[in-house]
Symmetry: C2
Subunit: 715 residues, 2 copies
Amino acid sequence: MAEEPASEVQLLKRQKAKLIEILSADADFVLQHADARSLLSPHGYQQVKCCRNPSEKVTDLLDHIIQRGPETARGLLELLKERDLLETFPQLHDFKDLRVETPCSGEQDISRKRRKDPDLQVMVPPKQICSNDRGLVREKQLMSVARHIGKSWREIGRLALGIPSVKLEQIEEDHSIHVERVFAMLRCWRTRQREKATAAHLHSLLSQEDLELPPETNGLSMEPTLHDLSEPLVDHAEGQLFLNEAFKIIVEDVLCKGTDVKQKVCEWKDPDELALLLDLQLRDSGEPQGRLLQRVRDVAKYSVKTTHPHFFNQQYGGVDYHSLAGRFLSEALNTNLFTYEVAPVFVLIETEVLKALRLLVGWTEGDGLFCPGGSSSNMYAMNLARYSFFPQVKRQGLCGLPQLTVFTSKESHYSVQKGAAFLGLGLDNVIVVEVDDGGRMIPEDLEEKIKLSKSQGAVPFLVSCTAGTTVQGAFDPLDSIADVCEKHKLWMHIDAAWGGSVLFSKQHKHLMKGAERANSVSWNPHKMLVAGLQCSVLLLKDTTNLLKQCHGANASYLFQQDKFYDVNLDIGDKSVQCSRKVDCVKFWLMWKAIGSSGLEERVDKAFLHVRYLVAQMKKRDGFLLLREPQFVNVCFWFIPPSLRGKEGSADYEKRLAKVAPIIKERMMKQGTMMVGYQPLGNKVNFFRMTAFSPLISNKDMDFFLNEIERLGKDL
Amino acid sequence: MAEEPASEVQLLKRQKAKLIEILSADADFVLQHADARSLLSPHGYQQVKCCRNPSEKVTDLLDHIIQRGPETARGLLELLKERDLLETFPQLHDFKDLRVETPCSGEQDISRKRRKDPDLQVMVPPKQICSNDRGLVREKQLMSVARHIGKSWREIGRLALGIPSVKLEQIEEDHSIHVERVFAMLRCWRTRQREKATAAHLHSLLSQEDLELPPETNGLSMEPTLHDLSEPLVDHAEGQLFLNEAFKIIVEDVLCKGTDVKQKVCEWKDPDELALLLDLQLRDSGEPQGRLLQRVRDVAKYSVKTTHPHFFNQQYGGVDYHSLAGRFLSEALNTNLFTYEVAPVFVLIETEVLKALRLLVGWTEGDGLFCPGGSSSNMYAMNLARYSFFPQVKRQGLCGLPQLTVFTSKESHYSVQKGAAFLGLGLDNVIVVEVDDGGRMIPEDLEEKIKLSKSQGAVPFLVSCTAGTTVQGAFDPLDSIADVCEKHKLWMHIDAAWGGSVLFSKQHKHLMKGAERANSVSWNPHKMLVAGLQCSVLLLKDTTNLLKQCHGANASYLFQQDKFYDVNLDIGDKSVQCSRKVDCVKFWLMWKAIGSSGLEERVDKAFLHVRYLVAQMKKRDGFLLLREPQFVNVCFWFIPPSLRGKEGSADYEKRLAKVAPIIKERMMKQGTMMVGYQPLGNKVNFFRMTAFSPLISNKDMDFFLNEIERLGKDL
């Protein structure tokens, strides 16, 4: 009967529904037999293996085989006629439709011959069996070989089969029975060889005369031989299988459990105990995959679940799945954002994201860069400001320049101090400006201090304002500060790492009014927008290529000028980093997913949650707000029952100061939630709660208040 | 009977809701039968198969078939009359409506039926139906509700059902027919509500008197109401499904295709064209999941495959699956390495990894930190050195200090320059020391220049040596330099970002002899060890807590001293960063996986590959080595046929300089491989190839040489 070339494929497709029904009775059995005949690609094998549901597994198996083409389809049809299979799935007996006329009828002869073949008698598979199964060695053959290899199996593995010693140690650890170890080693060889794993090849390797196998010795310290160079060190199939399993653990233990309010936020362990549990030590030998997966589970288990709806400890709680997908993608693509050559997509995406963010600030032109965190962004701004006034600083340094001073508020982020020290300006040259009750910089005090500094012979050059202070969430009055900066010709920088995201909200962007008058803005979308750590930008109004002039070094091995594309796309020289992580694509993907309107919703909802929380606090006893929140930071004392009404007593403040640390310790040890506390100026320890994660609901606000009450009721 | 061409489509469309209800009882069964009849496109089949929820699966199946046209629709209608199907879905027996009739008569039937159906009379499902199906609302009920919701569906969605507007926009985009949109919205509500999706609940939501629905207006700019607060913004099921699909794309497109020598290393596009292809613009509305997945595919497609065995362009090629799993894990756990409180596991792991690396340098004690790249590590070392000699610099800055000078070789990394400029020291104070032919610092010249600098009134404080220069891979003679540093009491720093990994190899660690005499070492395991970008450490011999003294700011809101655990574990104040990424766990997991011996093997094998490559080069015409490699950088010119034997001619150098750029452009545009080139001193453009990825074999070395020959044969 004349059939079309793809008749096996058509046949398999037609009978698929029926086959799924039959083979689902033991999906793994058929999968393993199919893999034994190399009917699957290594990747396909892993994918199919991962299916949990039997019928899904069979479906995927059949689809995969069909997709691979007629030869593989034929292989499966033959497999289904094997005795083992017929015994396991008796319905296959009645399934006449599976017969396809093979192009050459010699196949049957071979099968018959194979059954009689005395290949079990010899150590190595005889050459004549190589014509079967496109020559690929079968499990059965491997097993027969395994039975004839003795104590020198490791040497054979290393010398003849080129298996890395780490792998051999893993095999040894994974299997306790000798023949199983040898069999595993041979299977490992087969996997690594892929289409070259023929019986003939195995035969030739094992019969090498120059093998010079030491008679059953333990040759573990053998030098790598040139032979090794023909194979890469990484086994993709094995590696991808591990990654797949690790991914499942991440989804289950971090993303499912870690966002489930019924689960703990943290599993507190004392450092010594945790160190023991984690078995931190790094050793000479590698470990088997199973143990490594357990390590992934352990890391997940004992890590704080910042994704949890009851993590209120810092400004990076929650999770965004689109961003996370973007993060996995950029991690896998593992490149460096320095040239268009190696990061074409990311250079364009970074440029686009920076442009879109600048537009929100109010700038149609400008420049910018993703930096490793807000502190770095602030430091960059400081260096750019310095360079813009004193370009000679790049070549000559500060030596010989006048004393330069920086102005920032009392409640600004400590990175202004760190930056000034790092850049050689010195902490003493950071002049601290007074704040009002709400923590906002007082422009009048700023101007006075600028004048004072000038009168002392120093040269003020930078005001670093804050939009969203860390503790109180205060927004400095940008417009008034801009007036002062313009008057005194100072660089105006806004540290909007925390508060910048209000620019997405029509309702709340007024908090940043005047931002467009600044020279630079730092903004961390990894905070309120949940883009994932790290995602931090420095935005610049500058259009004179200041970033590159100030930071550039023109390395000739990287930023060649004779490239065949526009070298302005090689943005790496704008940075003082050389390796620079790709932090833009996750944010871009998230933004694409929910749009500016979705990001606006996140911001607006955070404000609503805070409004709700504050309203509830006011209905309860024992919650005392530091002041009405301006942003989404809620600062408050919990006054435990024993201290209520005793505000005048001598040790009141001292006792109140101890409340937050005790409640914090209790919540951590019970793992129910996490929130931060701190003193501020003359105010003793109070809680600072930030509510902005897109995972929270008002139920979580209620839980928060109940939990503080529960933990502090005996204090 | 005369039929309109599309009557099957119309019929199927009309009966879809009913069919979904019936066929959802065994969605996979009907899918497989439909596929057996080739009613789906291969891509459509894959898409439908991925749906987890049975009713969604059937919906997608029907939509797909409807979309394919009348012939396919007819095929399905026939299938539904088959015995197998009728047995599985007995309700199909009573489903006379599946017979194709003229559109108008069918429509009448349905309208007639609808008028009689009591639950179709009202806008909301009557209470009495709530007893069905444990109260969960059925598709049929949703459909009947959908038919009664008009133009104000969006308002109903937002106000009554709490569906985010982004989601509504997606629904609108995904469906063109009004009733389908409303139905999709109701289904979305049901998915989000899970066990609360009862008919009673839906009824009560839709009958709210305070809904105040504007009579069929388009209220897109409505304020979020308090109602919204009861539900989080993120849908975990939907999010995890997306992540799962994205993961599959990453495995397939980045890790399988991206490591396959038969695939391209890069898919070159001009920037303008690529920008168009990527559709970069960020908009107000979000996008449907399918389109976002396509974006993931596009990012993967047009990105350079640094994982590819033929990516020789930079020192971060290849992939390690254990490390990648660790990266996914730390991305998902999304925390900040500043306090033990939020990063207990990572603080301990970072400490352990630093300890193990210090031991390899030869230090049993010391300190260290993971930094965002080698340039940052080098800058840190410079700042620490400065602080160790002049602690007053932290408070007072450089103003008033003498001129400080730094010494580094001509071929050291540009980050020494960048660091000096950034720290306010100035480029002019980086004194460049001569190198020998191999690019190694000449200690005699170092000492001379130190003396000269002193004689000019400057204060030398730091020698930054290099172990593994970027271009030539040279190792400065550390022991001799240590002698000079000791004599002149200078801080000795080693930039071993590239070369540090030789410390894992018994055979090659001699290259770093003398490293233990240094004060600090930077080392990037993301280079030769393939730990993934970024993984960069600064190691210190110091035991006086210099890092914290130099960089600390003691922020009271973060590093509270009244915590209930040892606050020395709050390592964040050692850094000038505040947010600091977790870069240690991936390296730790990889090290655990293959052991120090596995890392040693990577290093040893890289040397062997280079030895092989060089041997092959010498056998061929046209390959001229700059010099014998000391490390795994192979620097060479390719002399094209037309230039061979013309070394003396006038324009030889000029012509040779153009060879590498042209070959580079060709390989990029064809996507076959990537390798870097650069000039160096008076040497015109030559290639620099680095071979160290654990994915390469000697076949890739052969390919490399053949490809250079192929691309340059006509030059």
